[in-house]
Subunit: 394 residues, 2 copies
């Protein structure tokens, strides 16, 4: 189980967490007040920027990444060597146009690509935090991002955009800092994680923690690596990012490099071989403990819980303009979840447009070549830019 | 991770595989010709019967169990101490009425409850088969059952019934032995396993095989037990047996025995605690290698592949009368799969009725208290009994 060109062992993993390559790093001494009731200080955030901040400092777009994403949104990923994860969306002339907007994409707190997380060094012990790292929430991620923007002296974002866990951050931004968000693009997300989604995450966490190499989260010191457990977790999660029709179209029941079944437990079917590859390549780039922390943050996400059970209260009085997007074949964050967001925004009297895009690509559609998505994002930002009085160039 | 009252270690597991409690056992010397191209001889089948075979030997109903089921269909399970898995359906006065029909339920070949499988002793080595056991198919299971019926001198079954993997066996029975099947009740199944379902199974197998205690399948000799891997496999699979609405209704985002999150990786949410229990209780009653073999058999199932790609050919000229049942919230074997069965039967000119039952209980609905299912099964068997000329009593 190895992916050509990628081989980040736990030592490399720790190094990337501390001194990320091809990244800007903000070291922040002010304490980050966490929902868990503790303070994190100092902490660091790795981030990337693209484009130029205008003189008014009014054209900044914050992009929030998903569970296993990072800040390398529109430039090659130094760990995998692959293109940035949203190069179809972000770049010169792209819907989120780097010739027009100043793009900031931070690695989330709890991540493993340069922002402080469980793979970072605990200053009290000089060793990796491991499970001593405090459990963080989506709101904590957003608080940390707001502190980064303070450092960058950006008071107000022209837009915040993201899909999946990134979409949760978008919603949380609008709820926590309504005055700092001119427009918001939550894609393929929900105001709270469903029981089924919590269940899938729990299976993934149990797969990691069942791996004896996990060592209670102290695999760095032990020189072990819970690769197999994390690979199983990724394989299971990956199924939920696709759709039954997409799997059927791509793989059906086709055998891998053969005509007939082998009557063995080899990867007989193409879909098995594909999944095994997804698992094995993931463990080369991602930290197992980060996977635990970030899935937990998603599970805890529940905007209504902070507002007496009424989501609409989260957006009361907001002047942010929203564009909510869902995909027909997304069964992880189905359209009904996006409709619930729209209903809450309507109930708060907030300006919102909504698009359900017809595709068989499932949840991952937000990362893929979806011309309708590109057109919607471009159109929404164009309209918002006019309203904000942004000029065409920087 | 232990379930009160159940504690079958690997030694007990092996014992149950060889000399199952509260079971009839047929030891068959004739070789079972397997799809893998090898012969299995001798082999044994553990089974249960309920009711009385009539003088004509014409009232026998074969019940085929699902992936993790067994032959204890309508009487207490000697391993778990729990009631039979289909006591709501099978018994005196129940839809499959033991006062009227003679019920036979065998444990499948490859299983671990007394029919020959990977936990049984390989006569050549005197040790458990482990992965030396040949990979078996649904057709092999059915062949073995036909040989059991030969031993019992039952030429023709009044009915064959089963859900999920049991439904696959029902379809295979009608395809392989059309003259021996008067009526067939395939519930919540399909003519072939989908790419998504193969993918879920592969994750489960990888979870088992990633457990170092699995030892390449030789855990019996090593005195180890891949409990954690098998528990993870079961947790993931269990989610697919339910539905998002059912999980939402049962658990929602409710915390387990507390008001607020613990900010930890404990089972904070009720759904997590429930899943962990599903995993831990399963490993006390099921053999890890059997799980590999039976999931594989389901993956290989593809009726069309045996008939030049046309499912209808599988049923050509059959006089069996069918009743096909699906459930609206079953996303593992959705109604579209059952419709495909019905279309194939229609194309073959076979008599078939079809019912889609509205329920939010997901795939597992076939095991649960579903009055509409009971009414349909009772009505279908009544009609078939009249057509067969069965008297009301035995």
């Amino acid at each position: 189980m190895a992916d050509a060109g990628i081989a980040l062992d736990v030592v490399g993993r720790g190094r990337e967490a501390e001194t990320p390559r091809n990244s800007l790093v903000a070291r922040i001494d002010r304490p980050l007040k966490l929902d868990a009731g503790v303070e994190l200080a100092p902490f660091q955030i790795a981030y990337k920027t693209y484009g130029t901040l205008n003189a008014d400092r009014s054209n900044a777009v914050l992009i929030c990444h998903a569970l296993t994403g990072d800040h390398h949104v529109a430039s090659p990923n130094p760990v995998t060597g692959k293109p940035g994860w949203w190069e179809t969306m972000v770049g010169p002339g792209k819907p989120i146009d780097t010739e027009r907007y100043f793009i900031i994409c931070p690695n989330v707190i709890g991540g493993c690509m340069g922002s402080t997380g469980p793979a970072s060094t605990n200053p009290k012990t000089g060793k990796p935090w491991g499970l001593d790292f405090p459990v963080i929430t989506i709101r904590d991620m957003v608080r940390a991002q707001a502190m980064l923007l303070d450092e960058l002296r950006i008071d107000s974002l022209f837009a915040v955009a993201g899909g999946s866990m990134g979409g949760m951050q978008v919603l949380q931004w609008a709820a926590s800092f309504p005055k700092r968000v001119f427009s918001a693009l939550p894609i393929a997300c929900a105001t709270r994680h469903s029981a089924q989604n919590i269940a899938f995450h729990e299976v993934g966490r149990q797969a990691v923690m069942a791996d004896p190499e996990w060592r209670g989260g102290r695999y760095f010191e032990n020189g072990t690596n819970p690769r197999r457990g994390l690979a199983v977790a990724r394989m299971g999660a990956h199924i939920t990012y696709l759709s039954d029709p997409a799997l059927h179209r791509k793989f059906g029941r086709k055998f891998q490099d053969r005509e007939n079944p082998t009557f063995s437990f080899d990867a007989d079917f193409e879909v098995e071989s594909y999944l095994r590859h997804q698992g094995s390549s993931f463990v080369e780039r991602f930290d197992a403990n980060s996977y635990l922390y970030l899935t937990r943050a998603m599970d805890y996400f529940d905007l209504a819980a902070d507002c007496n059970g009424i989501v609409a209260n989260a957006f009361k009085g907001a002047s942010t303009r929203f564009c909510v997007v869902s995909f027909t074949s997304d069964w992880l964050f189905p359209t009904s979840e996006s409709r619930a967001i729209v209903h809450a925004l309507n109930a708060s009297g907030v300006r919102v447009s909504f698009a359900e895009i017809v595709t068989d690509k499932g949840h991952d559609a937000f990362l893929l070549d979806e011309p309708e998505l590109f057109a919607i994002v471009r159109g929404f930002l164009d309209g918002a830019a006019k309203a904000r009085g942004l000029k065409n160039g920087v």
